[in-house]
Structure formats: C-alpha cells, structure tokens
Point group: C2
Chain length 304, copies 2
C-alpha cells in the first residue's frame, strides 16, 4: 500500500470536509470544519484549503478534486452546470482547473434543469449520485438525498433525466427557530419521538395542502392538550417530510425501490418515513457516497 | 349626536388599535401602535391602555371592550375559550372583567376546537366573525381571514362549527427573510406582480405537495433565467397562499361563496387568488369587521 495520491474535498455552503486519499480509495487522513463557501468567500478559499492540507502534512504535489458550492458563482471559481439530461460522465469531463495555484486543483460542475416550467439546480449532489450509483448503473433509479435542500432525482442508465429540490431542511430550521412554534420545541432533547414523527408524515402525505395547518396544530395541541417538546419537533419535521414524500414519490414507477442517500439523523428519519409508507428502499451513507464520487472523479481526471 | 359612549380595542400579538366609539357606531377618535401583547406583557397592559385614552382625552367613566391576545395566557388576564360548536353569542357572554381597574374593562374570550385529531384556537377572529356576519346569519358560511395565522371557518346559523389555522403569513415572513430566498426578493418594491402571483397560486393549488419545491424554483429560476425581486416575492406568496386555498376550499359546499375578511395588500392578494380560481366572493374590510364586532359586544354587555 503506497501513500496518499490525491485529496478529495466536499465544499458545501456551510461545511468543509477533506480526505487524504490513496489510489485504491483508502483514507489516510480527514478534516472537517464549518469553513463552508459562505465563510471562505470572505477569508479566501486557497488559505482555507492550504491550512487543512498543512494540518495533515499533505505533500505539495498532491492534486485536489473538489465538489459542491466552491464551484458556485459566489464560490472559488464558477464551474457552471451540465444540463439535463446529463450523463454522470459529463460531470467528470466538466471539471474546471483553478488557475494560479501551486498544485493541480479541479472543481466539479453542477447539474442544471433549464426547463422554464420547472427550473432547478444541484451542486454537490451530482457527486453523491456518481458515488452511490457509479457511471453506468443500468435501468431506472429514483434517488432521495435529504438535507437543507432535499433532492429527488430520476435517472435512467446513468443519466439524470429530471430532478426537484425541496427546501424541507431549511423550512424546518426557520419554522422551529423563528416562528411561534419555537416555543413549542424549546428544550427538545436529541431522542427521536418516532410515533409523533410517523403520524405527522402520514397526515401530511395524505393531504399535503394541510401542511401549514398541521404545523399550527403543533401549537394548538400544546395549548389545549399539552405534549412534549420532542413530539412537537418531530411533528414539524414529519409534516414537512411527509409533504416532500407525497411529491417525490409521485415520480416513482410501481415497485421501483427508492435509493436513499443520507447520514445520521436524517437517514434515520427518512428511513422511518419511507418504511412507514411501505416503500422498498436501498440505503447508502451520504459521506461514503461523496467520497466514492470524488474518487471516481480523481480516477477519471488523473489516471487516463 | 352625543359623545363617545365606550372604547373598543383590538389588542393583537404585535399591534394595538383603539377606537373611541359612539352608541350608534360613530368613531370619535382612533389610536394605533405596535404595543401588542408581546410588548405590553413587559411594560404593563393598564399603562399602555391609559396612555392611549389620555391621548384622546377619554372620560374616566368610559368602559372598554377588548378582543384579541390581551386575553391569552401571556396577556392581561386569561379569558379562556368558548368551545366549538360555538354560537357567536357565547363570545359575548364569555367577556371577562379586568378587576382592580378604575373603569369597567372587559376582554372577550377566544374559540377552541378541542378535537384531539385537529386541535385549533382563535383569539380575535371570533370578533371579526361577529362583526362581519352578525349574531344570527342564516345558512352556511365559509370564511377566510388571511393573516400571520390565516383562519378558515365554517359556520352554520351563527355557530362556528369547525375552523383551521394556516401559518401562511408567518411562513412567508421567515421564508422571505431568513432562507436562501432572501437574496431573490432583496429590493422588491411595493408593486404587486399579479401575473407571477396568479401563476404561483395555480401551481401550488394544483399540486400542494410541491410547495417546498415551488419555493426553491424561485431561486433556480433567478439563477438560470433571471427575473425581478417582485416576481420572486409574489411567487413565494402565491405558492403559500395557493396551498392554503387547496385545503381551505376543500371545506366549501358547491356554489357557496367565500366570505373574505381582510384589508389592504392581503385583501388584494386573496381576491386575485380566489377570483383566479373562479370562486364567488363576499369581501369585507377586516378593520371595519373588528370594530363592528366590538360594537356588537359593547351593546350586548352595557345596553341590556
């Protein structure tokens, strides 16, 4: 086993993750921080990257492949988008070199759906897809990638045909933090109230138009009947996720399993929600998927 | 025409409105401020009320009737709720005297729907209903009262049978102010982009489950196709209102007109939205309705 041969970076809006990778996919070192695009746009992208490489003692010759918001207009350099229908191999071809750097640094492009009736963009999730499905996954796939901005993607034979972004995670944050419901969830502990969550998913899934009412009921229920902060939080979460599933699963061909790419608490919640609706599932870890996607990109860029 | 005979106050969460009223409904003076329940809970309710009465030179003998959040648990005194099915006359009977005050001050109760499957509460809107419909409106009515927390109410013969609160207005505020969409709406002027609004209403009304996706499209559309801040703001507004209408109108019996009680910009938006869906409408001004409701309460309390 030789040493590190490249560096993989997932550079999101508010998070930075870096891995020192071996040619065979081994992880020699890892760094995480909250120096996402928003912070790095102020302090400079190159110094942030270099500080993490220094901390790991990375050789000056190691090349770097990056996915995510570092390629956005407000990022390090704008890498543009590959348009749908987009074969995942086009992502690899669209990598852009960051010029004027002492080492070889490439940033992957995103995917755009330039449909005036349903415009959409992704940046970072294309690399998760690459890692989770590989370049030439045969047949149909319906992929759910939960998060601040959840993505639902329909692929056929490695080509992204259509996708839709739902602001579910961001809505949860502002509803729980900045509305009248903040009182209802105050002091909620980490434990998941799976019953409250499952019920809220089922209600919003059945009648998504009621979502804004189901949210207010969280407050009314506490006023009239009491109830825990956990139950309140999970009801907010389940309501927003249930409505998302109603739209996302409408894209599903009968019996097609959903590929869920997620980690941690979100993986757990979406798994409970989808299993509660009897949807067959393939679950993949999001962090492993992005690392694998970046490894695939590195192989395509530097091993040819 | 004699002078003022009582004082009417609409005391909301974040607003205070007071009218010096004549026995025949004449308005002798008016005060408005942002000393709502939240502020007055800190500074004291009695001093806020007295300062506005002093500013109008109101006689010390004038009695005061109040509706709204001043009767909430965090308000001046808790006035409780009348439970559904609630005839509007029960609101008048439920007025609570604020003790220890130099004048006769009464606060009206709210209405509670103690249904564990659909708990809900209102406080202030019961007085709007009273003013808009009167005590003994015959037949069915479906009332929409847009706002921070929009209410849809089904009445029969002056009795509130069921109602539902939608967090539409509050969702609009946090989405436009605290999410990624804040960039898209930055600098929007007051003018209403009725086309963007109408289209967004129609899309969310047709597939409410897509709401969180329709919201994200506001950003994608600006990134890929450009577009004004006004159009972005109206699309957010139309999406949230369209989903609310899909649920609210599901309660409507065929051909029953909707009674819309609203003022200003909200009245205009809901009118465009409902007319766009070819729903027959009765429109009433919200401020006039609350004043009339308080006048009805004053007559019932002091003229018997």
């Amino acid at each position: 086993m030789s040493g590190p041969s490249y560096v993989a970076v997932d550079w999101g809006t508010s998070s930075f993750r870096l891995w020192l990778m071996g040619a065979g996919g081994e992880v020699f070192g890892e760094r995480r921080s909250d120096e996402g695009m928003t912070g790095a746009a102020r302090t400079g992208f190159a110094p942030v990257l270099q500080s993490h490489l220094n901390a790991l003692g990375a050789a000056a010759s190691l090349p770097v492949v990056i996915c995510g918001m570092a390629g956005a207009r407000q990022g390090w350099i704008e890498t543009g988008y590959v348009d749908t229908p987009a074969h995942l191999s086009e992502i690899l071809k669209g990598a852009v070199v960051v010029s004027g750097q002492p080492r070889d640094i490439r940033i992957l492009p995103g995917i755009a759906q330039r449909d005036a009736a349903a415009p959409d963009v992704m940046r970072g999730e294309e690399t998760l897809l690459l890692g989770a499905l590989g370049l030439d996954a045969p047949g149909e796939a319906l992929v759910c990638m939960p998060g601040t901005h959840s993505k639902w993607v329909r692929l056929r034979g490695g080509t992204v045909e259509r996708f839709a972004t739902f602001m579910t995670g961001e809505l949860f944050s502002v509803v729980a933090r900045d509305t009248i419901l903040s009182h209802a969830v105050a002091g909620a502990e980490e434990a998941v109230d799976a019953d409250a969550f499952r019920l809220a998913v089922a209600e919003a899934f059945a009648v998504p138009a009621l979502s804004a009412n189901l949210l207010f009921r969280v407050r009314s229920r506490q006023l009239l009947f009491g109830g825990s902060a956990q139950a309140a939080r999970e009801t907010i979460s389940g309501t927003l996720i249930g409505a998302e599933l109603a739209a996302g699963l409408a894209e599903r061909e009968r019996a097609t399993p959903v590929t869920l790419i997620a980690s941690g608490r979100l993986q757990r919640l979406y798994q409970i929600a989808l299993e509660g609706l009897s949807i067959p599932l393939n679950v993949m870890d999001a962090e492993e998927a992005v690392r694998r996607g970046l490894a695939g990109a590195a192989a395509a860029i530097w091993n040819n």
